[in-house]
Symmetry: C2
Subunit: 395 residues, 2 copies
């Protein structure tokens, strides 16, 4: 039976070519008067996002300060720096220009500023969300879905802990500007990595033990098929607006939980990947491309028919009614082949991971409060995590 | 190319068995202190919704006044009555318990109360939405999607004008409680009629001239397949919670525009049906079951391949690659057969309509400001409207 749920996604999405020109109006609509821009390196200056956004703020008479240099797999140091800067400057609105790392950093600063203690308290359960500065985003990478999501992931430098904060509607952005044109300059590797990330966000919801979830199953399948169709087109022709638009809206829908309501979710692949990127600083999507098919092989026996459904409905595999496990396996093989076709790694070694680090990764996970077991579809303890990591070596 | 769009659906949805017990807390969360309950006849008292909601309000110390007697195809008289009552009692929150007619009435009262002039001014373009009293809903019929939508439809008694107000995010409900259990007592005819209504909401978006809308096409198909699967189960076994849950969430998604963003929409069938229900007071879904297949036959030639896609992807028809028009026709035939299988009328006579009234219906439509042409897929003028009505006589 479908679980009861609350779905509350009060983010305003302004989608399409040139929409970043409206950023200033949106900041004003949601009460911002003194903004902190948060961004990474120079790409937002090269692709025109920075110029369009700052011009739009100025034309509305909104002043701003800047926090730049956010890295992939964003780190706590930048969050502390941002909290201090925001307090000093009296910032009342956080505006992220970038992808998931930048948005997650802005979210963490936003709930860190009004909180008296250490912002990390929210990640380890010592504090719960009650208030936050408002956050807006101008998205430049279709991937993480943070532009519409109720969560963020930060790496605490002390201990190298890559953790997600508890989910809360309080931290959803007030608005997000999604202009597919801004993603046309992304390199193929980032486009591919982002596509894997959004597919993972859907798969983590798709593989469930909840029954009677046909509607959300179909929504998940619709999103997966769209990404499978659009990602190769965007890589073959980076300026393909239609493909970029499909990826951008899919990435948001993949993680605002519209396809995950009313069902138990899994998230084991994400948990395992967080150790990979904590150890090797690999792109999140690349780590997922390695872990997810291995996880699937490990857990497939738990529900052969769900994996067969995935194979048939997502990849168009022919159903082998006499041997559904063959269909299930064909689906996993199709997924791995698809990742390879995008130029993604699918083995441990390709992301620089080493077999001898496996016990340390498992132990590092174990240091997290309630670190084991994890996974809503199949419970993963230390030995299962190790087995999945070993499976991912030889795929 | 996909159109630019804004998607802003800030309604909180509380979904599942027993969720109406939280209504009082939700009213408080969204600032209500003095509520006006809006409902229809006795069904909300028989199915337990009224008792649960009022108990929940009282336990939060929230007082309420009542406006009952809202009819299907809701009329302006009840809106005027509600506006007067709300002002007299100092109501600051409208709480609708019922289906689309009740919710639409509550929405119209909510924007009518703070407005100095006639609430109908909003319908005929003399006023634009700036403010409204907050509205919450406890849904008891899965159909109209008003629980998540940005619009409402009221019939002005003087002139018998059944018009929709302009779409505006301002009038979306603050929260909607969706308990599928409350719909288990619905008669088969209302279940069927509601299912047709939600299918129409999707089809009005599906049939578009906008290109590059694969993602929203797939979302539309996912919703249509879900309704086609769930409606017969809910009719065969009214207490089938899974079927009721699928219908209830589909009805919301069908009309909060999540499957319609970035694409030109049609809405011709709705416009034509509004005349049918204005003339004969038929159930909206029943009128749509008559009009929609006739509209499809009339416009099919405009885009054979889109109708073939509808046939293949929604009804599983086999694609006739040599004769796509045969596939297109098979899809329309499947839709009509499906409506019949639900016990819906599919001809003009079955809803009590008369051939000799056709010119009067067309003329009545013409009295609406900008009444002709309408329809985003194919432009419908008076002669096309008449032709569609004539086609619907013999289906």
């Amino acid at each position: 039976m479908m679980d009861n749920f609350v779905f509350y996604s009060p983010t305003l999405f302004s989608f399409g070519d040139g929409e970043e020109k409206n950023t200033g109006k949106l900041v004003r609509r949601f009460g911002g008067t003194k903004v902190m821009l948060v961004y990474g390196g120079g790409s937002v200056k090269r692709n025109g996002a920075y110029d369009a956004v700052t011009a739009s703020l100025l034309s509305e008479g909104i002043s701003y300060t800047e926090l730049s240099g956010v890295q992939a797999n964003p780190r706590s140091g930048k969050v502390y720096e941002g909290i201090e800067l925001a307090r000093r400057e009296g910032v009342d609105f956080l505006l992220a220009i970038g992808g998931g790392s930048v948005i997650d950093t802005a979210k963490a600063i936003a709930f860190g500023v009004p909180y008296q203690g250490d912002f990390w308290d929210f990640f380890c359960g010592k504090a719960t969300f009650e208030t936050t500065l408002p956050v807006g985003t101008v998205l430049t990478i279709a991937a993480a879905g943070s532009e519409g999501s109720d969560s963020c992931v930060i790496t605490l430098e002390e201990g190298n802990l890559k953790w997600g904060c508890p989910k809360s509607d309080v931290i959803r952005p007030k608005f997000s500007v999604l202009d597919p044109r801004l993603t046309c300059s992304l390199p193929a590797y980032q486009t591919a990595s982002g596509s894997v990330d959004m597919m993972a966000h859907i798969c983590e919801r798709y593989f469930t033990n909840t029954s009677d979830v046909e509607l959300t199953d179909r929504l998940c399948q619709a999103l997966l098929k769209t990404v499978i169709d659009a990602a190769p087109r965007a890589i073959a022709d980076p300026g393909d607006y239609a493909a970029r638009a499909d990826l951008m809206w899919s990435g948001m829908l993949a993680h605002n939980n519209s396809c995950g309501v009313g069902r138990a979710q899994d998230w084991a692949s994400h948990q395992i990947e967080h150790e990979l990127s904590a150890f090797y600083d690999c792109a999140h999507g690349a780590g997922l491309a390695v872990v997810m098919p291995a996880w699937m092989e490990f857990v497939m026996e738990h529900d052969i028919m769900r994996f067969a459904k995935f194979a048939v409905e997502v990849f168009g595999c022919e159903m082998d009614f006499a041997h559904p496990e063959r269909t299930a396996k064909a689906g996993i093989a199709s997924l791995r082949a698809f990742f390879r076709s995008l130029g993604m790694p699918t083995t441990f070694a390709e992301i620089g991971a080493k077999e001898e680090d496996i016990p340390a990764m498992v132990a590092h996970r174990g240091e997290k409060p309630n670190g084991f077991p994890f996974g809503g579809f199949v419970k993963i303890g230390p030995s299962e995590m190790e087995a999945i990591l070993r499976l991912s070596m030889k795929a």
